[in-house]
């Protein structure tokens, strides 16, 4: 729920050639990842160019973070939860090149994740796959897709599973998702809130969560209390990254900002992502961490929903499918 992280230092020393400051505006669950990555990149940049780079991090809900950039927060790079939020930065004025997603490999997504289930130890309700979530008497915890970017991935993962299981019948998918949300007793406004509801308050039988968040919860709360269940089919969650062109050109930081994002694809960057439970793109590193991630059949937003803008409009905007689920009862 926290708003934006504090960014106290001014970024005025970027003109000085032996030191430069970058601001990375990101979303909540990447805090630990970027703390580790920033230290690695600072070292790498000093070794290759002799320049000192200081990286400031700002974290918050993905949508709120995008809004701070729209309203003038001078982020050199944005690393958000979904492409839609980055596209939205251009809504009033083009701050980022429209073709931003083609600038870096893999849709400008250096690491990925997927949607999995967190259940209580020994899986008392025997939850194995999406079908188990719509059974009567099962309580499902997921945040509100209207306020949480992460929750939109959860919702679309369920929708995609239902499509694949019903020969792409949209009506059947809608029924499935409605049945699922009928089992949701509480809609938290953010992903961390939903985790708290499930873990601390003991509410619900299953939490739908990002894989990296599920790993973090388990590590923090003890493996003796929860386990991860990976469904048969899930969505490929792609949190993309890009430089903010208008800012890097003004601050003259383009070179280092681009290097900062490219280095995410290096072996070291990929390894840090994997250590923080994001699935790496690099085959080599993925191989090394293969015991950590369960194989799962993944589909993308582009395949099933025609991209984020379309998915947002059809499902989550006012009057969209999500609203219909709740209003026409």
């Amino acid at each position: 729920m926290a708003g934006c992280g504090s960014v106290s230092e001014k970024t005025s020393n970027s003109s000085n050639s032996d030191s430069v400051t970058l601001l990375n505006v990101s979303y909540d669950p990447t805090r630990e990842l970027y703390e580790e990555y920033n230290a690695a990149f600072t070292k790498y940049w000093k070794e290759t160019t002799g320049q000192d780079v200081t990286i400031q991090q700002s974290h918050g809900g993905s949508g709120s973070q995008a809004r701070t950039v729209i309203d003038g927060n001078e982020a050199d790079v944005v690393t958000l939860a979904l492409a839609y939020d980055i596209d939205s930065i251009n809504k009033n004025k083009e701050l980022i090149n429209k073709e931003w997603q083609k600038r870096l490999p893999n849709n400008s997504t250096p690491y990925t994740s997927t949607i999995v289930f967190l259940v209580r130890k020994d899986n008392p309700k025997n939850i194995k796959d999406w079908d188990d979530l719509v059974k009567p008497g099962i309580q499902v915890i997921t945040p509100n897709p209207k306020t949480s970017g992460g929750a939109r991935w959860n919702y679309l993962a369920a929708w995609g599973y239902a499509l694949k299981n019903n020969n792409n019948n949209q009506e059947k998918a809608k029924e499935f998702v409605k049945a699922l949300f009928d089992n949701v007793p509480v809609l938290d406004s953010g992903a961390r809130g939903a985790t708290t509801t499930f873990v601390e308050r003991g509410l619900g039988d299953v939490l739908i969560a990002w894989e990296n968040e599920a790993f973090l919860s388990i590590n923090e709360l003890g493996k003796d209390k929860f386990e991860i269940v990976v469904p048969s089919i899930s969505i490929l969650a792609e949190p993309p990254v890009t430089v903010v062109d208008s800012v890097v050109d003004k601050k003259n930081t383009r070179k280092v900002a681009e290097a900062y994002l490219e280095y995410l694809y290096s072996d070291e960057g990929q390894e840090i992502a994997a250590k923080n439970y994001y699935r790496p793109r690099s085959e080599k590193i993925a191989q090394k961490y293969s015991s950590q991630f369960t194989e799962v059949s993944l589909f993308t937003i582009d395949e099933l929903f025609g991209g984020w803008n379309k998915a947002q409009e059809e499902h989550f905007n006012d009057g969209g499918v999500f609203d219909q689920i709740y209003i026409k009862k």
Partner: protein, 283 residues
């Protein structure tokens, strides 16, 4: 927020000279900090056009959330009025050890960040929480229901009534009550005929302040309400969901409706207060 209706006297003698300058500063300050920000709400939402505006604010989900927000805020303010009076009374009329400490505790809800309050209350009142577990067997759910929202709102708006009633209670001379007793009034009569009318304007002010504070509350409620559309969704959350869709105009349209309803209600409350105190002064 509180309109005191008094005849406008320009040439009032005052210890502080320079009416022109102080008035100017007061107006500038109010304009910069209150009028301009609030008018932005109306300017932002005006880009929608009237028919869109009406469509948005009369949609089922907005109407349901307004009902939740106004209903829970009203109950919270009403409960605060009763118990605020009781606490102010205890603090003013009795001496006991730890009184100063108790007096200090009253303001703590103001100092606590509301998100923290929300999380603590949710933990306490959840079905496995310290308090919630005693209500669960009785079939009473507190967290994630309108009841939970009301409790959070009572918590965050509670100091207002105590702090508005306290000074008035201090100002009432106990001699008047003694005189009433000498004239043969029962304790109950003294309380209802002497004390309550004297306190009434302060109680109403406290109620109005609590109510207004509770209406705008977001931080603590999102944790305890469960945010279920049509059931426990408060209007400020709905405004946020609109902003989350980058729908600034839609969000401010809902905010504008909230402002208008609150303003009319506060106006009515103040009128009621004026009418009561006028009637009381005349008799």
């Amino acid at each position: 927020m509180i309109l005191t209706i008094k005849p406008f006297k320009l040439k009032q003698q005052s210890v502080i000279p320079g009416f022109g300058i102080t008035m100017g500063i007061a107006l500038l300050y109010l304009t910069l900090l209150v009028l301009i920000p609030i008018s932005m709400v109306f300017i932002n939402s005006s880009s929608l056009g009237l028919s869109n505006f009406i469509d948005i604010v009369t949609s089922e989900r907005v109407a349901a959330s307004l009902k939740v927000s106004f209903g829970t805020s009203f109950f919270a303010a009403a409960i605060n009025t009763v118990f605020g009076l009781l606490i102010a009374w205890v603090l003013e009329r009795y001496t006991f050890p730890g009184k100063k400490l108790m007096d200090g505790l009253i303001d703590l809800p103001f100092a606590l960040p509301t998100a923290v309050a929300g999380i603590s209350l949710t933990t306490l009142y959840a079905q496995n929480g310290w308090i919630g577990r005693f209500f669960e067997p009785l079939g009473i759910r507190i967290s994630y229901t309108p009841l939970g929202i009301t409790i959070a709102l009572i918590f965050i708006s509670f100091p207002f009534v105590v702090r508005t009633v306290q000074p008035v209670l201090q100002g009432i001379d106990t001699e008047v009550e003694e005189a009433a007793a000498c004239l043969g009034a029962s304790r109950f009569q003294t309380f209802t005929k002497i004390v309550i009318p004297e306190l009434f304007p302060a109680l109403i002010t406290g109620f109005a302040l609590s109510f207004a504070r509770a209406l705008g509350e977001y931080g603590s409620v999102v944790f305890i309400s469960g945010n279920m559309p049509m059931k426990t969704e408060i209007t400020p959350l709905l405004i946020r969901t609109k902003l989350e869709q980058y729908d600034y105009a839609g969000g401010t349209a809902v905010a504008a409706v909230m402002l208008i309803i609150s303003f009319v209600m506060l106006l009515l409350i103040n009128f009621f207060q004026w009418w009561i105190s006028n009637r009381h002064n005349r008799s």
